[in-house]
Symmetry: D2
Amino acid sequence: MIVVLRRNSPLSKREELILRLKALGITTHISQGEQNTVIGLVGDTSKVDPDDLMALPYVEKVQRVSEPFKLANRQFHTADTIVDISGVKIGGGSFTVIAGPCSVETEEQIVYTAKRVKAAGGKLLRGGAFKPRTSPYAFRGLKNEGIKLLEIAKKETGLPIVTELMSVEHLEFFDNVDVIQIGARNMQNFEMLTEIGKQKKPVLLKRGLANTIEEWLMSAEYIMASGNENVILCERGVRTFETALRNTYDLACIPFMQSLTHLPIIADPSHASGKSSLIPALSKATVAVGASGIMIEVHPTPEKALCDGAQSIDCDTFDRVMTDIKKYAEIEGKTV
Amino acid sequence: MIVVLRRNSPLSKREELILRLKALGITTHISQGEQNTVIGLVGDTSKVDPDDLMALPYVEKVQRVSEPFKLANRQFHTADTIVDISGVKIGGGSFTVIAGPCSVETEEQIVYTAKRVKAAGGKLLRGGAFKPRTSPYAFRGLKNEGIKLLEIAKKETGLPIVTELMSVEHLEFFDNVDVIQIGARNMQNFEMLTEIGKQKKPVLLKRGLANTIEEWLMSAEYIMASGNENVILCERGVRTFETALRNTYDLACIPFMQSLTHLPIIADPSHASGKSSLIPALSKATVAVGASGIMIEVHPTPEKALCDGAQSIDCDTFDRVMTDIKKYAEIEGKTV
Amino acid sequence: MIVVLRRNSPLSKREELILRLKALGITTHISQGEQNTVIGLVGDTSKVDPDDLMALPYVEKVQRVSEPFKLANRQFHTADTIVDISGVKIGGGSFTVIAGPCSVETEEQIVYTAKRVKAAGGKLLRGGAFKPRTSPYAFRGLKNEGIKLLEIAKKETGLPIVTELMSVEHLEFFDNVDVIQIGARNMQNFEMLTEIGKQKKPVLLKRGLANTIEEWLMSAEYIMASGNENVILCERGVRTFETALRNTYDLACIPFMQSLTHLPIIADPSHASGKSSLIPALSKATVAVGASGIMIEVHPTPEKALCDGAQSIDCDTFDRVMTDIKKYAEIEGKTV
Amino acid sequence: MIVVLRRNSPLSKREELILRLKALGITTHISQGEQNTVIGLVGDTSKVDPDDLMALPYVEKVQRVSEPFKLANRQFHTADTIVDISGVKIGGGSFTVIAGPCSVETEEQIVYTAKRVKAAGGKLLRGGAFKPRTSPYAFRGLKNEGIKLLEIAKKETGLPIVTELMSVEHLEFFDNVDVIQIGARNMQNFEMLTEIGKQKKPVLLKRGLANTIEEWLMSAEYIMASGNENVILCERGVRTFETALRNTYDLACIPFMQSLTHLPIIADPSHASGKSSLIPALSKATVAVGASGIMIEVHPTPEKALCDGAQSIDCDTFDRVMTDIKKYAEIEGKTV
């Protein structure tokens, strides 16, 4: 960490700061420039909050030099983390496909979709039971009944299931859920992250609407610091000035983040684009960019879906998307 | 609501859509343009989800004509809502000042600050007990001990207290809290909004990091639809491409939203700017733009604060800010 | 176009509006809803400015139904436009690679790079002669001397050349330039667009820093309306809240825009990411998503580049990137 | 400037870098941390491009410590710059009102508006003659005929005139123009900035759609480095994810920038909000936040304006706005 002092800040204040840092076990180096004095901090700076230093009236700038996350950091854990879900692997040399409807609606719908997902080569079944909706008047999911239907589909197909948790109080319904999804809007629900880190099921952590890569990794760090290192990151588009599509799909973040973290990163083109016609092209790009997997919304009859039909593809389209994904994964040397 | 059909969409599909809408109690008007057919929907369209219609393969665009919120809507409730907190009013002809430290740290700190806030004309005391922090390694507040200290300050000064709720499970500690704050990161924690709407204390709902005005009002609608109409909205800066300041303070949203909603809107320049030196200028602008109040971070010794010292002003500066606020409020014909 | 009137707007005003539109050759349909009156406009609405209608005190909203661009619109020109540059094609079944240094520096540098680009399968040579730089103190290119060096490289390799025009006054130096690039910062320099449309060389129009897809297509429309239909669009990343990378690469816009326009769309991962280590992954994704080509910064010794070295790959890396691009293009059925 | 080296970068590379910097007259300080080596650069670093250093394979990060602008920097020029326009002052203790229509339309329109602006206390007349429009099919201004009409209005009222320059080639028409406006879309038209810096008329430089404060100041620096120090900065709203209003009005940037630069900063609530009903509230906030002036769109009959009627106020409203501005300026101790 680097602290830049304001011009003409008194020597006594500089000494005070050095002593304060020493008390935290930090040693300091001073570079006296023509215009500014820069203090370099050496030691474990994870306990030093840049904002605290910024509050000092003679400090002009504070800049981090090393990343604030540790457990998620590739520097201290060079090998890829591979999350194992009853034998299905996410990370390493796999490209794992998670698919299913936005919302679980009926037994027929979810069992039929699960069978088609499995037949096409999908490895995990997704389906929303507790649904976050912007409007209190919209359909908010079948809740625990929806989870029971997912369990039936799992029994019928053997596909492990992924579904979103919207409140820690609902955990009691998640006994047979294989991967707990934390949605974009709860990415910085720190109480939930802390609680979810205390249990052992893998966690699929979606990126928040407008959260930075660093904030996202700090949220993963929350879960890991609480005891659960099975975290899968999922890019799902970010909010920008462009509103022609639902979000802006940030594919470049994937290879970039792979240098920062050992956690597997997958991506969700359905929420990113909001447009089913784009899923074939975006799925191929998701493999090409080096992601560890993909999550796609598939519905037997998208035009009758109770939620997000506009971004769901039908089962026949999913078959074709899987054919493309397999071709691309083969070039990448990955197992679908 | 307006539905634009794709060119050359078959007449049979159009008829199907009209019947489907009829079943929901919606009547339709058709405008046949040169390039497009536009269907106007008449009736209570709040049950029609634009996304559902977008899922139909022959629909090109769906556009709302009326706002999706009702209880918060100025059109159906023209008079200003005035929230009463043990006699302190927010809304109508008042400009209400809420002040206090980012975090409650010690009894001396909070009691001293409360006295200074009261002496200067502040009407409510704020202080964080449960603190949302980006890093799991940062100070996360004194939690229920912090609330006890706030209660002492309330007893000593008579100022009602405002503090943030981070999990519905903590509500048991909030018996003596007067206003429950929902932080920016929980603005779309829909389960929490639903629960908080079931109790009767006023709720101060901060705008999310990158949430639109409409989403923010829909979150207020969640609380109101659950039974609690005492909602105070609080602008606190939004996230944009500009990173020189912590956030971009969206003051223009205040007079704009006053035409959309009857709920009182206040603003928080401390979180918006992240810089204590800007608070005097931004406080004056907050009165000038017509807000119903302001929330300011004040700390006896900002340079020693455990959290957000860089954006906190000291008590003497707060005195000067209050003098300015009073002058401006007088011109606006408002009571501080 | 749809005009929503304010509640309780007088009938006389509505009649006035209908007459005003009639004078412009527009006919109108009225849908009388419970809360709002909606007027549908039928006819050539390209002369009706939505902002003009919004200025009427009884108008609440104006929404376009059809796109404001015509010459660039896929609806009126269904076949792909293929731009021919001395036999090199952009658009249709080709995937065209444009490569070269950010800035032209010396004859050796540009000729060597051109030979390596050609040997690896690149079809056009890029190189900056007039350079837009944020700081007036930075290297601003060799200007017309740079263009002369590009001409030498063209002579040596036969590769057509692409370089940026920063002022219409420099056009005199562009006689032997094959494609004129309009940079992101000039995307809405409307005088330049109008002028450039009056000459016949193909134009490579980069997307502006924070310009919407619609604005970008309207800028292409400027050039086309001026007489030049040989426009190539180039996505180069957009500015968002995320600053970890130089820009956010908006790959999803490519398949989306292909439904809106017949113009070819290529992409520039070098400016989008600002990071050479990401170019291999992003290049593959650019083919996968369906772009008509790519523009990559290549420099013999990136660490000694006078400009943008951090985002330039060296020639050996370019060879490997080309090998990958060819594999992916083959699956896509495209000719590199 | 601070250079952070990658872990395990060889000592020989570090020495190479130090020599390279020495050749530029820069001395270096090394801080050896536990994880990273940090090199502090001392001397005139304005010639060192951070991007060049980032291109070195063993460099991880480069961070500026001091601002890249010099002529515009408050540190080297502590007194406020006061721009004098035929006796009208912008900067220092004045709050200067510039008003007039978006576009000049007819002699009656501009002369009448000028008289009303003057009578109400406006000090400069604005009016668009060359108009930047997103669509090539929209009204693009009366061009040099519009400037002639502005000259008539100036003769009738004595108000100096401000109008936008869209191409350096039009300068010949600007002989009697008093302030040359550079619009948001040309803020980074570096060729134009350089040329405009070679003449002596004051320049009103609007902030770009999505340009940072630093980029904006660097564009001012371009003009100043070219020889013209009479630059007035004008905030006009920035583009963000929020589309309910035309732009997001960034009022907080004004007091923040006043600590960075000595140049006067004014603001334009008309373009920022796009909504005439918000102008009264936003004008008061603009005074309150400490701006040196304001630019407001006024039109005799906004509902008949050829451009931007929705954001223009009429002359009677302008009278009321001026009354408010004067009250607020009086509290601020400023002369309107």
